[in-house]
């Protein structure tokens, strides 16, 4: 179990402090692919940084900590010492492979330059060569310079770097956004296959609900610095509890459906505003007086299915939400 | 837009130097280069702030005229080099293709040729009659290449940007695009290059003057040093004769440099990559 204990993460700006992740309390089962979704600025990348323990100015962990569910010298590893385990037990796959690789040194050097100086690097590279073949890469690929490889190959290299050391936890921040669809599919299948084999925990951040649908076991939906829903992916995609989740799913196209895609209209609130009540209320077709004034509690509605909505119990049953949503004044666009 | 400290200090220095060197001569009619106007080798006093030299000239007034003349030369030559650099750089960078290759080869050649020896030859050829005009022409001829290179690479990167394409597809002519869309971006770079060019021009003329190959009859920051060296100012203990122009030059150059880098920094911050 990975525990996120009451996490509040703030950025220091010229205007003051702003909480990009505001009170996240979760227990996440290990050995699963966890999708994190939400609009840009909802705090999903910040949450990823907090989990990774990459807390450098202007980002700071105001309160809370992460318990990673593995021990070291009999003590459970937490936020305070996770740095020691970077690319040993927790790894990170960045968004853009082109800018994440140093253009002027060979990939093999970048594969090993974080290792302890006492490591036998030649031996490690031998294993890496064997390993990358499993990832459909020629073994020579690691002796190349980044610009000599195609975008897809480079992203496979990034996956190889992030998985070679067999970490317990892998954080992937939109690892396929820069790639074309065919290559993207290859990388996703690769990640799924590797996870299946090693049973590591993958946190997968993407704004693409289609991708989440394909690969995740669990989903974590964020809105305006809060987690609004968490549960098994198959349930979330069929019977979401939170209207926001519902809207995100609604925006997905399905084959044979020629309805006009509505998307989620409106914008999330500025985190600088006074945020009383439910943060989604201004955009929510179901919002009532209660939603404007009282913040809904994030609680378990069904086994392993959490949500923060006053009307969570009604939502998934209500087929009217789609209709309500279509008639919401914000959606009456000129076209 | 907020000014940074560099820019503030730079502008203050430049304002004092420019105002001082241009306004003070209005209250002083005498020719500072005339020899024997005053007693020789006077120490600094109220009447002669920096004292007088071995030629009986007032050092303060000589210096005021020197700063003024150096600035006039620097600014007027730099106007030309910056205009040429802008035109050439925009042409090469925006139109590209064959004209770009030809222009860039020419630019690289001019950058590779050391200017100073050529100036020495020219000064020798026109012996004794080295006029500011000739020096200026040569400085313009060799001075535009650096700026052109910078403007070109700027324009080149702009060519690929979205808003330029929008303008292109909405039917603007090339000339219009260059002037309406590209030029405003390049302008900040040209201001920086303009100030750097002033530095370079004043420096090069002064270097030529120090070794006696410019027109040393006209007071400039270089010619004052030439006379000081010629009369062995250090040897005879006339330190002020050398120290004063050295300090004035350092302060002026610092002012120019701080202004140009400060301005650059301010623009970089505004463009959002700082």
């Amino acid at each position: 179990m990975i525990r996120l204990n009451n996490i509040v993460a703030t950025y220091t700006t010229t205007r003051g402090e702003v909480s990009a992740v505001d009170g996240v309390n979760l227990e996440i089962p290990t050995g699963k692919i966890i999708g994190i979704a939400g609009e840009s600025g909802c705090g999903k990348s910040t949450l990823l940084k907090v989990i990774y323990g990459d807390l450098i100015y202007p980002l700071a962990l105001k309160t809370g900590s992460v318990q990673y569910g593995f021990d070291s010298f009999g003590q459970e590893v937490t936020t305070s010492d996770i740095k020691e385990y970077w690319f040993k037990r927790i790894s990170y796959i960045p968004q853009s492979s082109m800018s994440s690789l140093n253009p002027v040194i060979r990939i093999n050097k970048q594969f090993t330059d974080h290792l302890d100086p006492s490591t036998d690097k030649a031996k490690v590279l031998e294993d890496v060569r064997a390993y990358v073949q499993k990832l459909d890469l020629p073994p020579e690929a690691i002796d190349a310079y980044p610009h000599q490889l195609s975008g897809g190959m480079r992203q496979r290299i990034m996956v190889a770097m992030g998985t070679f050391f067999n970490p317990d936890i892998i954080l992937a921040d939109e690892p396929t956004t820069a790639l074309d669809v065919v290559v993207q599919k290859g990388i996703l299948l690769l990640l799924m296959g590797l996870q299946e084999e090693t049973k590591s925990t993958i946190f997968f951040v993407s704004h693409d609900m289609g991708v989440h649908y394909q690969i995740t076991h669990k989903m974590l939906i964020m809105y305006a610095a809060k987690v609004v829903e968490f549960g098994d992916s198959d349930i979330i995609f069929t019977e979401p509890l939170h209207p926001y989740t519902r809207m995100l799913i609604e925006s997905l196209p399905t084959i044979g459906d020629d309805h006009l895609r509505t998307g989620v209209s409106g914008r999330p609130p500025s985190l600088w505003e006074d945020l009383t009540g439910c943060r989604f209320a201004p955009r929510c077709p179901l919002a009532t007086e209660l939603c404007q004034t009282t913040e809904p509690e994030f609680k378990e509605y069904r086994r392993g299915h959490f949500a923060a909505c006053h009307y969570a119990e009604n939502t998934y049953q209500s087929s009217e939400i789609a209709i309500l949503y279509d008639h919401h004044p914000q959606n009456q666009s000129p076209e | 837009m907020k000014m940074n400290n560099r820019l503030k200090i730079g502008i203050v220095i430049l304002t004092i130097m420019v105002l001082g060197s241009f306004l003070l001569p209005l209250f002083h009619n005498a020719d500072p280069t005339k020899q024997g106007t005053f007693p020789k080798n006077l120490p600094p006093s109220l009447a002669h702030v920096l004292g007088t030299n071995s030629l009986g000239q007032d050092l303060f007034w000589w210096l005021v005229y020197a700063v003024r003349n150096s600035l006039i030369l620097g600014v007027s030559v730099s106007i030309f080099t910056t205009l040429i650099a802008g035109t050439v750089g925009l042409t090469a960078g925006y139109i590209g293709g064959g004209s770009d290759r030809v222009i860039m080869t020419l630019t690289d050649v001019i950058i590779a040729i050391p200017v100073f020896p050529i100036l020495i030859v020219l000064a020798t050829l026109v012996r004794g009659q080295t006029s500011f005009l000739i020096v200026s022409v040569i400085l313009i001829f060799f001075g535009w290449a650096w700026g052109a290179r910078r403007v070109r690479s700027m324009a080149l990167s702009l060519r690929e940007r979205e808003f330029i394409n929008v303008a292109k597809f909405s039917g603007s002519t090339t000339l219009k695009i260059v002037f309406r869309e590209v030029f405003p971006y390049v302008f900040a770079f040209m201001v920086v290059d303009f100030i750097n060019a002033i530095l370079w021009v004043i420096n090069t003329e002064a270097a030529l003057a120090v070794i006696g190959l410019s027109n040393v009859e006209i007071p400039t920051l270089g010619s004052i040093v030439f006379w000081a060296l010629n009369y062995n100012a250090l040897f005879i203990g006339q330190y002020m004769w050398i120290v004063a122009p050295v300090v004035a030059t350092v302060v002026l150059f610092l002012g120019l440099f701080l202004t140009s880098t400060g301005y650059n920094q301010m623009y970089a911050t505004r463009r959002g990559h700082s």
């Binding site: 140093n102 | 590779a112 050529i118």
Partner: protein, 333 residues
């Protein structure tokens, strides 16, 4: 293949620079209003204090024209000039020390200039980059701010000012180093090498000080910018040691524009060194030029200028050819 293209391209521009340099040097004196021959004759007469007979004058004119390569049409003059200079390195005889050929003087002066320049540029570039990298990488530290201030203070100061200050401080006030260079000819013994070093300290220091300012500032700006690159962030998240990140990531990438910058400023550095030589009477190309300028020795001037252009162009070519060693994107395409 791309590497081959790159090398061919560099050689082409090398020859273009040389050709244009040669041409400028040929046409420059011919575009000037004054006629070097008339000037020379005039000087000869005023020195001798007597007038020559018209016959003698005509004779002298003809001989001088031949020596200067000024007889015949402009085209044949130009071709003859190219042939002499390119094939035979023949710049004609010196006038101040007639009939010793100019090339002899240049061969003696050039090693001084190249030695002074190569050492000082290498020192200034290396130290400047080491300091600049640290200042840019640890840009928040106090030391970085101090280095930046030093860079800003040094950068805009012209060569002659630095030279004057060094002469004043170390020559006059402290009397540690000589004011001008005095090196007697003779075999290169250990003692003589010490004399050379002793005499070279101030000229070298002047060039290094100016170069340091430039290198510190530009390397600092580059390192600071490269620190924000994605690969630096990723290396940090991998747990790569800070030292490795500074050297292999930030440093290696900032080095490339620094090499280009050095290549482009060779001409300016050379100009500065010539001036320094003149101010310190250092027996290199600069001093040779200054002496030639005051004695009206035109062949010497054209010879020195051509060799200067040749030296700068060759140094540029060498740096251009070294560049791919540091940039794999040119080496492998």
């Amino acid at each position: 293949m791309a590497l081959f293209q790159y090398i061919v391209g560099r050689f082409v521009s090398y020859f273009v620079v040389l050709f244009i340099g040669l041409t400028i040097t040929f046409f420059l004196p011919r575009l000037m209003p004054s006629d070097p021959i008339e000037q020379y004759i005039f000087e000869l007469q005023s020195q001798a204090g007597q007038t020559m007979s018209p016959d003698e004058m005509a004779n002298l004119r003809e001989t001088l024209s031949q020596i200067y390569g000024l007889d015949g049409s402009l085209v044949s003059q130009y071709l003859g000039y190219l042939e002499r200079v390119i094939l035979h390195f023949d710049f004609g005889p010196s006038f101040a020390s007639f009939p010793a050929p100019v090339i002899g003087f240049i061969v003696r002066a050039l090693p001084w200039t190249l030695g002074l320049l190569a050492t000082t540029t290498l020192i200034a570039w290396t130290i400047g980059n080491l300091i600049g990298l640290r200042a840019g990488y640890h840009h928040n530290s106090r030391a970085a701010t101090v280095m930046e201030v030093v860079g800003v203070a040094l950068y805009p100061i012209p060569y002659y000012i630095v030279a004057l200050v060094l002469i004043m401080v170390f020559g006059y006030l402290l009397s540690i180093f000589p004011l001008t260079t005095t090196i007697r000819p003779g075999p290169l013994t250990f003692a003589k090498m010490r004399v050379i070093l002793y005499n070279s300290v101030l000229p070298a220091l002047s060039i290094i000080v100016v170069g340091l300012g430039w290198n510190i500032l530009s390397m600092k700006a580059l390192s600071f910018a490269h620190k924000e690159e994605g690969y630096v962030t990723f290396a940090r998240l991998k747990g790569t040691p800070s030292r490795t990140i500074m050297n292999s990531y930030v440093g290696r990438n900032s080095l490339l524009p620094q090499i280009t910058g050095l290549t482009l400023s060779l001409g300016a550095i050379f100009s500065g060194a010539l001036l320094i030589e003149i101010l310190f009477s250092y027996p290199g190309m600069g001093l040779l030029m200054r002496t030639a300028a005051s004695s009206g020795d035109y062949n010497m001037l054209y010879g020195t200028i051509l060799v200067t252009i040749f030296a700068v162009a060759t140094a540029t070519l060498v740096l251009d050819l070294i560049y791919p060693v540091f940039d794999p994107r040119i080496r492998y395409r």
